[in-house]
């Protein structure tokens, strides 16, 4: 089977993808600089034949070139997220340098590149649901939350420019709200992570804004399935795909659902004003249109929100207990 290079492999999507690739019999070179994660999610594979973990920075071009040797596909998932608490510099530079570094390695090694973009690129576009041909609406430049979307739009253009210039096949995947076992349990992992964490600890769930903003949440197995389809389909070359569950839910509904599934009593909520983030703008509604992935890749999300959340809560309960037991 083919050798696959996965960047951001210790992260949530990366680690789950590694498991699925190993199950299919692929050799996996898993790269992560562990800046945002530990090896917790991939330790189980350390003894698996065909699995190799390398702690390197995706921005290190020499390292990426070396690791990409003999690779059929590079799945580039390493990225820095929305600068909600930190500064925008890392988001901008790490995302663009990392992608360039991957593209340069792919060019030398004749590898295919499938990389993570984000639903955030649609930004404030009021026309729902978002299809891949929709316009990308960014807010004011001095609102730093847009740095993430801008960095990913740049990544998409770089990828298509490399494809045009050097003929390397690229595919961009715009993920919509992934969750599931292995997710980051802080804000970095998304609202469901912090809600579950709060519910398990019987603390108030912190809702940003009025909670009426809507999102769609995609169970990890469905995301991994979508990536695997895109990685090996000739139809995916040169394309952008939305990968997400089309079920729309408000943040407030999500919080209440999680509280109920966690088996708690009266929900505890705490509304946090956006003003605490400085100049911030949230995206009001975000739902994918996925007929392109359906038609070209046969992608169909299978795990509903309630079922997925049950599994996620169970997992998060177990790791929380474990870490508490350890501390």
């Amino acid at each position: 089977m083919e050798k696959i290079l996965v960047t951001g492999a210790a992260g949530f999507i990366g680690s789950n993808l590694c498991s699925a690739l190993l199950e299919k019999g692929h050799a996996v070179c898993a790269v992560d600089n562990l800046s945002q994660s530990t090896t917790r999610n991939i330790e189980t594979h350390f003894a698996t034949p065909g699995f190799e973990f390398v702690q390197e920075d995706v921005c290190d071009e020499a390292a990426m070139l070396r690791l990409a040797k003999g690779t059929a596909v590079i799945v580039h998932l390493a990225a820095f997220k929305i600068p909600r608490y930190g500064n925008a510099f890392d988001t901008l530079t790490i995302n663009v340098h990392g992608t360039e570094s991957v593209l340069k390695a792919a060019k030398e090694r004749q590898a295919r590149v499938v990389f993570a973009s984000t639903s955030d690129v649609y930004g404030k576009n009021p026309h729902l649901p978002f299809s891949e041909t929709h316009d990308l609406y960014l807010g004011e430049t001095n609102v730093k939350r847009w740095a993430y979307a801008v960095s990913k739009i740049m990544d998409e253009h770089y990828a298509f420019a490399y494809q045009q210039e050097y003929g390397i096949p690229v595919t961009a995947l715009r993920f919509f709200g992934g969750y599931g076992p292995g997710q980051n349990t802080t804000w970095w992992g998304g609202p469901q992570s912090v809600f579950i964490d709060a519910a398990l600890k019987d603390l108030p769930m912190e809702i940003h804004g009025d909670g009426q903003q809507t999102r769609s949440f995609t169970y990890i197995a469905d995301h991994v399935d979508g990536i695997m389809r895109a990685m090996f389909s000739p139809k995916a070359v040169g394309e952008i795909f939305n990968l997400g569950n089309v079920h729309e839910v408000s943040i407030l509904e999500l919080a209440l659902l999680i509280w109920r599934l966690a088996g708690k009593g009266e929900p505890k909520l705490k509304l946090i004003s956006y003003q605490t983030f400085g100049k911030y703008e949230d995206v009001r509604n975000r739902v994918p249109e996925i007929s392109k992935a359906r038609n070209l890749l046969g992608f169909e999300p299978k795990v509903g929100l309630e079922e997925g959340l049950r599994k996620t809560i169970e997992w998060q309960r177990s790791v929380t207990r474990f870490s508490e037991g350890r501390s």
């Binding site: 500064n87 925008a88 510099f89 901008l92 530079t93 663009v96 690129v121 930004g123 404030k124 891949e132 041909t133 316009d135 990308l136 609406y137 960014l138 807010g139 004011e140 430049t141 001095n142 730093k144 847009w146 740095a147 801008v150 960095s151 739009i153 740049m154 998409e156 253009h157 770089y158 298509f160 420019a161 490399y162 045009q164 210039e165 961009a172 040169g238 952008i240």
Partner: protein, 342 residues
């Protein structure tokens, strides 16, 4: 107060005129240009000044740029690649993204302020009647190459703010709209007026993209320079994004008529309509673009003083007076069957 400044893209239209204005005011100017788009003729008049130093270097060379930044207190980062309508997609991204990063790094090391040239192209497909600095920036599909240029400029703006946030580099961002004026270099990328004048003066039909009903703002260079100097001289412009342009706009077909008349051609205007699909299937052109410049008016006290007709009259005059050298430097614009650009 006499300052030492750096201008990248100094041999381009805005860069060369800005260099002149700053030298006239007694400042020292280091000019960087790799002459890939700009031309030496635009800055030749400054070579006589001992306060002007020219570096024929690429902004993608970090060592050369760090040298060029040494001792300067203000950097005007104007070197850029425009919309990749004719290829060079990856180069556009590299120059605009990597180049801006290198100059910001230079500003950080030199403790200099950086004034970044952005463009109204960042408003993209926005549907507002008039774009203010708070308007959303609307890009089309990432698979359409022309949006790569706008994306790279938005990225540059964000990177400016990120350097301000992380390292305290003072930055100001100017979004220029349709600046035109005397230059020895005609580019397919610098607006329709020069192509139209070249056609009218050589008695050829004026090439129009699409049906010519798309409207664009046009800003005469002296107005753009006046606004730029005000940003330069106004300390509280830091941290601001400012639209600089004319509030006037005109449809491309009316611009052709205007130029035909100003060129004094004595027969009925000849227009040649070119479908967009002729040169790239991956091209999308916004239909209208009107830019609100009231922030520049109120914050900087800037008023444009050269109206469209006067500016175009000056431009036609410039072409007429320099026709031989312009023809020699840009022969492709004076031949028949040239694939045009607007």
């Amino acid at each position: 107060m006499r300052k030492k400044v750096l201008i990248t893209g100094v041999a381009g239209l805005i860069g060369s005129h800005l260099a002149k204005a700053l030298l006239d005011r007694g400042h020292d100017v280091v000019g960087v240009d790799d002459l890939s788009l700009g031309v030496r003729a635009n800055i030749e008049p400054h070579f006589g000044s001992d306060r002007f130093r020219f570096c024929e270097d690429s902004i993608l060379d970090p060592v050369k740029m760090n040298e060029a930044c040494e001792g300067v207190s203000v950097i005007f980062h104007f070197a850029a690649q425009k919309i990749p309508r004719y290829g060079g997609y990856l180069k556009t991204l590299d120059v605009n993204v990597r180049g801006t990063e290198i100059l910001l790094e230079g500003a950080r090391r030199a403790n200099a302020r950086l004034i970044f040239a952005s463009t109204d192209d960042v408003y993209g497909k926005g549907m507002e009647a008039s774009f203010t600095e708070e308007s959303p920036l609307v890009l089309g599909e990432s698979r359409v190459h022309r949006w790569g240029a706008a994306a790279s400029k938005i990225y540059g703006e964000h990177l400016c703010f990120a350097y301000a946030e992380k390292y305290g580099v003072p930055v100001a961002i100017i979004r220029y709209s349709g600046v035109y004026g005397p230059t020895h270099h005609i580019s397919k990328l610098s607006g329709a007026q020069d192509l139209f004048i070249a056609a009218a003066l050589s008695d050829r039909p004026i090439p129009i993209h699409g049906d010519g009903s798309q409207t664009r703002p046009f800003t005469y260079i002296s107005d753009a320079i006046e606004a730029t100097l005000r940003v330069f001289e106004t300390p509280y412009a830091d941290g601001e994004v400012i639209n600089v342009g004319a509030s006037a706009q005109i449809s491309i077909v009316n611009l052709a008529y205007l130029i035909w008349r100003l060129a004094g051609v004595q027969k009925k205007p000849q227009l040649r309509f070119v479908p967009y699909t002729d040169f790239s299937r991956l091209y999308e052109d916004p239909l209208h673009r009107r830019v609100d410049v009231s922030k520049a008016n109120y914050l900087l006290g800037y008023r444009s003083s050269v109206d469209l007709e006067e500016g175009m009259r000056l431009q036609v005059l410039w072409f007429r007076n320099n026709l031989e050298s312009i023809r020699a430097l840009n022969p492709e614009f004076f031949q028949e069957e040239e694939n045009p650009g607007t």
